[in-house]
Amino acid sequence: MEDTGTIVAFWILALITVGAAFGVAAVRNQIHSVVLLIVTFAGVAGLYITLSADFIAVVQILIYIGAIAILIIFAIVLTPRAGRLNQEGFMLLPALGLAALVAGTMIFVAFDTSWAISERDGFEETATAIGDLLLDKYALPFEIASVLLLSAILGAILLVRPEGAEEEIE
């Protein structure tokens, strides 16, 4: 990808994404952490657009910002007496070391491997093709995913339902 627009966009988005991600881990306030997480999600969506994955980018905004971030916010608000500090436990140093190790390894692998780079341009339109694939080749996983979502919904409802809700329904 050589055109100037994409390169500038990539660097800006990458900096925002990674910076916000570090912020998520570093800031003290849990709510600030979630706000930065939303920024990270938005940055990743932007990166998807530079990768010409428009459908996935929009889905990223829709699901991650519109749903998952909100769920996390709900979880924070619904647990008022839990500490809202984003602090680390006794695993701080081992985790830091392990994370650095993983990052280092992966970056090394990324640069060391000779990837089979194709010469094709970005996708023209992904939505239709994805739709075709989902309902054709990946129809079974698609159905399984819907069942998974349903069971997740039911499970979540069952978990947090207050005691005695059975009587209320009847």
Partner: protein
């Protein structure tokens, strides 16, 4: 005349033409050209938005005043026309108060975040034949996704104010927006199934080509989308997130000065965004049965957009507000099943149309008739099933008596 104008740089039917000619004339490198072009278009859209908001603040106040037996603002300038500008100056000059225990960073950030989605939506809206900033292939999904950013923004505003009304309103808003987002998605899904594309420009050209508007073919998704839109922009009867008589000003209770102005402006812009989406998806966008050859398409588009937005002003002057649980059950128990059935029906219709290969002159009126009847049957039937609008209350009057001391209480019947 039209033939003379066509394609020339002074052809006003497409405002983009003169600008494009001008930029091409200078002969700049591609990248600069691109940036300059986007910049001019963005600034033009923003200017239009701000001017429209200012105009509609005046129009709304005057129209609602007429509905309420009042005169409305009529002191500042001729017929009070300068009132919104006076208000804007007042808001700008006011002290931007941050309450002591507010979360300062988020408190300042929230009005800005609220602003983003409302503006960004207009990037994909086709104002005219080539007047679209970004002709996204997933335009419809983009509309929904960007509107979803509103939710965390509203929460941030409510949370950071450290005000109980604001927090309560923020939680209400989140619950409400998420519920109605599903309705919105399903409403647009049925439309997308029918057209077979998510590109907004394709919607316009489809409606132009088939010489009909989607409002005639599928009224139910339109109504659902309008209702979900009313929820999104806090218009009555869904204005519970800033329910004036309950929660003072809802999630922006603590905001004053220009920060409040941002919320106010963003609310109007979101309203225009919904109206723009409705215009493009259901009302033929910038086309008007061939008239766009003579009248600039963007004028037609704006005319339709303002007409749709007027509906929201009207409802604001007319309807009381629902309670949060009623609104939620309306979304989940009433709208959602209806929309699911609707998606199924539209899908079946598309399938049958493709299978039979009927000509459009037969298929479209037939589908329209089926959908309209079905919409009426579904709304009335499902409403009756849930116990609404059975006319039980219609004849209810107080009991009149001349006897003193008698007790007429029969026990409260559940609503």
């Amino acid at each position: 005349m039209v033939i003379l104008l066509k394609g020339e740089w002074y052809d006003l039917r497409d405002l983009a033409n003169p600008v494009r000619e001008l930029i091409d004339g200078i002969g700049l490198p591609d990248a600069v050209d691109y940036v300059l072009w986007s910049l001019i278009a963005s600034v033009a859209i923003l200017t239009w938005l701000v001017v429209s908001v200012i105009a509609f603040i005046w129009i709304e106040r005057r129209v609602v005043a007429l509905m309420q037996n009042r005169k409305g603002p009529n002191r500042v300038g001729p017929a009070g026309l300068l009132q919104p500008i006076a208000d804007a100056i007042k808001l700008l000059l006011k002290e931007a108060i941050t309450t002591r225990d507010a979360d300062r960073m988020l408190f300042w950030l929230a009005p800005i975040i609220v602003f983003i989605p409302t503006i960004v939506v207009f990037a994909v809206v086709p104002f005219g034949e080539s007047m679209v900033l970004a002709n996204l292939n997933v335009g419809v999904l983009f509309l929904i996704a960007v509107a979803g950013i509103m939710t965390p923004a509203v929460f941030i505003a409510g949370w950071s104010s450290n005000n109980k009304y604001a927090l309560l309103a923020a939680m209400r808003t989140i619950a409400m927006l998420i519920s109605y987002e599903i309705v919105q998605v399903l409403a647009l899904l049925s439309v997308v199934i029918f057209i077979g594309s998510m590109n907004l420009q394709t919607f316009v050209s489809w409606q132009d080509e088939y010489n009909t508007w989607l409002i005639f073919i599928m009224p139910l998704p339109l109504v659902a989308y309008l209702i979900a839109g009313a929820v999104e922009i806090n218009r009555s009867p869904m204005d519970i997130s800033e329910a004036e008589s309950e929660l003072a000003a809802g999630y922006h209770t603590e905001y004053g000065g220009i920060k409040f102005g941002f919320f106010y402006q963003a609310e109007y812009m979101a309203g225009f965004a919904i109206a723009a989406a409705v215009t493009t998806l259901f009302l033929g966008g910038w086309t008007l049965w061939g008239l766009e050859e003579w009248i600039p398409g963007w004028i037609i588009f704006l005319g339709k957009l303002y007409a749709v937005f007027f509906l929201y002003i009207w409802s604001r002057g007319t309807l009381p507000r629902l309670r949060i649980d009623q609104l939620m059950s309306f979304a989940w128990k009433f709208m959602l099943p209806l929309m699911l059935v609707n998606v199924l029906v539209i899908g079946a219709e598309v399938f049958i149309w493709e299978e039979t290969g009927a000509s459009r002159n037969i298929a479209l009126p037939a589908i329209g008739a089926v959908n309209t009847t079905l919409a009426v049957i579904l709304v009335v039937g499902w409403g009756r099933f849930l116990g609404h609008g059975s006319g039980r209350q219609r004849g209810y009057r107080a009991t009149l008596t001349r006897e003193i001391g008698k007790i007429y209480y029969t026990g409260a019947e559940a609503s």
